[in-house]
Amino acid sequence: MQTTNITKGSQAHLERIKERFDGFMKSGANPAFREINELASGLIKTAGYPHRTHEMFTFVNTADPSLTFFDIAEQPISLDDDTARSLVYRGCENSVLFFINGSLDRRLSSFYSKDGKISISPVEQNQAAKREILERTKSEKDIFALLNAAFMKEAFLLDVNDGVSTEGFIQLIFAASGSGESPALSTPHILIRIGEGADIGIIVRFISLDERAFSIPALSISAGEGSKIKYICVHEGCEDSRHLIKTFVSLSKDAHFTCITASNGSALVRHNYEIHLHGEGAETDFNAVSILKEKEQAHNYVRLHHEAMGCISRLRFRNILKDKARASVDSTVVVHPGAKLSDSNQIMKSLMLSPDAKADSKPNLMIYADDVKCTHGSAVGQIDPEQLFYLKTRCFSQDMAQRILTTSFADEIIGKIPFAPARDGVRKMLLGKLER
């Protein structure tokens, strides 16, 4: 792990984390995960609390006191039925799992799987799954993913058998609450195993129920040989909520991972995707979009590893920023030795609608193999005046023309969402923010 200088500020953060951790281990911890909790806590202490010189948090204000002045979110709480129903996309009524502050809410969840070929189970008694979390924790470098492991009380395994193919989508809803004075920390942890040749769609929806929600979910997806995963991640935060989401993806030979991440911003949302194409011919089509206003922030940190021959990756990022919003994309594609015939392309675009907004783009390539094709590009700018003029000469007012251009900019990503109810929902959530 990268070592950071311990300053007074970061020392104070570490002390607060330790204080919370000690309290958690005395009263709230689950004995089944104690080993993982302690391992993660030790790694946090060794690594130190990161400040802005840390390469993982260049664009994120880790000094934000809300990130360590937290209480543990109350569990269990529940949602009323009407609110819960409103969160379920049409068509997912019988394939929805509710996680409230990290706990599976069985009353709200409705999950039927023919022949039990798709199952959800707690990790507590599953030694192999626990070992997987433990091993991943050992190599984890993200302080907030380690925080998840340090404060993890529950974890679940979503298991999709070999060859299972579903037309519909499985929806996972992660709702985080938090009232009170301090932010309420929740640490959902899900392992998703996709069997060989399976073809499945998953929608993950992160929602803040209250302003003081502070959620640091960890998801781990392992895709079997020849499997296909359509993965949609929707973040819907409140103004003062914070979400730092770690998603680990491992693709076997010829596995295909299509991902669309949509963020509506909040005080802070940060996605950390760590994607490993470790099987020959694995492919990733990764897309992320956010529309931010006022002081909202959304950050994408992606590390994508080509580890085998003939893998393909496509990464597209789009941000639209109004007012004093902030967005960043920090994306690195690493082509490891032996990963010949890798084909990778990264494109980052940000559209600035205000002089006070700020967007940072940092595309990187690290190539340690021969015979590869890797490109990247980045653009930050305003609405093209020639496009605006063209539309005005086609009868559109300034407002309409601007709306068409901003909408289309975001819709190039949103339009890729392969599930109409989710696509419509994201359009409503994000494009509505472009209204004056």
Partner: protein, 248 residues
């Protein structure tokens, strides 16, 4: 319909139009011809209201209104249409939906019925067939990945849908092969009537073999230096822009 008087205009402090005067009536087709850099495209941009251009002197009256006082969208709604030499691409905006929205904005302004996607598709299909355009261009983003010829056809398609009173065709023939030029020109011809008018801005006389103008104007250094009938275009065809030197 259109009355341009003593128009001086330019861009970034460079005066390009230096006293253009031109009258266009309903039912007329005018060709404005000239060598590169003579001010042809500046004229079309100024008439359409491009914000980068500044009018320094002169008046333009269109259908009784001061055209120069109107923003571009009001000019379009009044019936002015510019078919671009280089139409811009608008990624992410579906061509058919874009045209339906434009059609409906104009229809609403004129108190006509707005069309839903199904009815509009019928209208659009008819117009595309006339232009020999493949239906795949409906779903593509506006002009994105279109060939030069398809972009020009797409401009004429919009002209056909919006039914403008005055169309300015800015170098509509550039980049077209002979077959595409014939199809585009025939379509433009079909759209002509005694209720509307055309200004064809072109460098080469070849499009005028298909669309016969009533008047031909030669522009040079920002001024119309010679006007005449189709014979003038024929003269340009045979002698080139040397006639400008004689005039000067």
């Amino acid at each position: 319909m259109l009355e341009i008087k003593d128009l001086y205009a330019g861009i970034e402090g460079n005066e390009i139009l230096k006293g253009i005067s031109l009258s266009v009536n309903k039912g007329e087709i005018h060709a404005v011809m000239g060598p590169n850099g003579s001010g042809k495209s500046t004229l079309s941009n100024v008439l359409a209201g491009h914000p980068s251009y500044t009018v320094n002197k002169g008046t333009v009256v269109f259908e009784g209104d001061d055209l120069l006082a109107l923003p571009p969208e009001e000019r379009a709604l009044k019936g002015l249409f510019l078919a671009y030499q280089y139409p811009v691409e608008i990624p992410g905006v579906g061509n058919a939906e874009f045209m339906r929205m434009a059609y409906n904005v104009k229809a609403k302004k004129e108190g006509r019925e707005e069309l839903d996607p199904l009815d509009f598709d019928e209208l659009l299909s008819d117009k595309m067939e006339i232009l020999g355009m493949d239906a795949k261009y409906k779903e593509r983003a506006v002009n994105e990945g279109f060939s030069g010829g398809e972009k020009k056809k797409n401009e004429i398609l919009q002209m056909a849908l919006l039914e403008p009173k005055l169309t300015i065709l800015d170098e509509i023939d550039s980049g077209l092969d002979i077959d595409a030029l014939r199809i585009v020109a025939e379509s433009i011809q079909k759209l002509g009537s005694d209720k509307n008018a055309l200004i064809i801005i072109t460098h080469f006389p070849r499009i005028l073999k298909y669309i016969k103008p009533h008047y031909v104007h030669v522009i040079s250094s920002g001024r119309i230096i010679k006007s005449g009938g189709i014979d003038l275009a024929m003269e340009l065809e045979s002698r080139g822009y040397d006639i400008i030197k004689e005039k000067n």
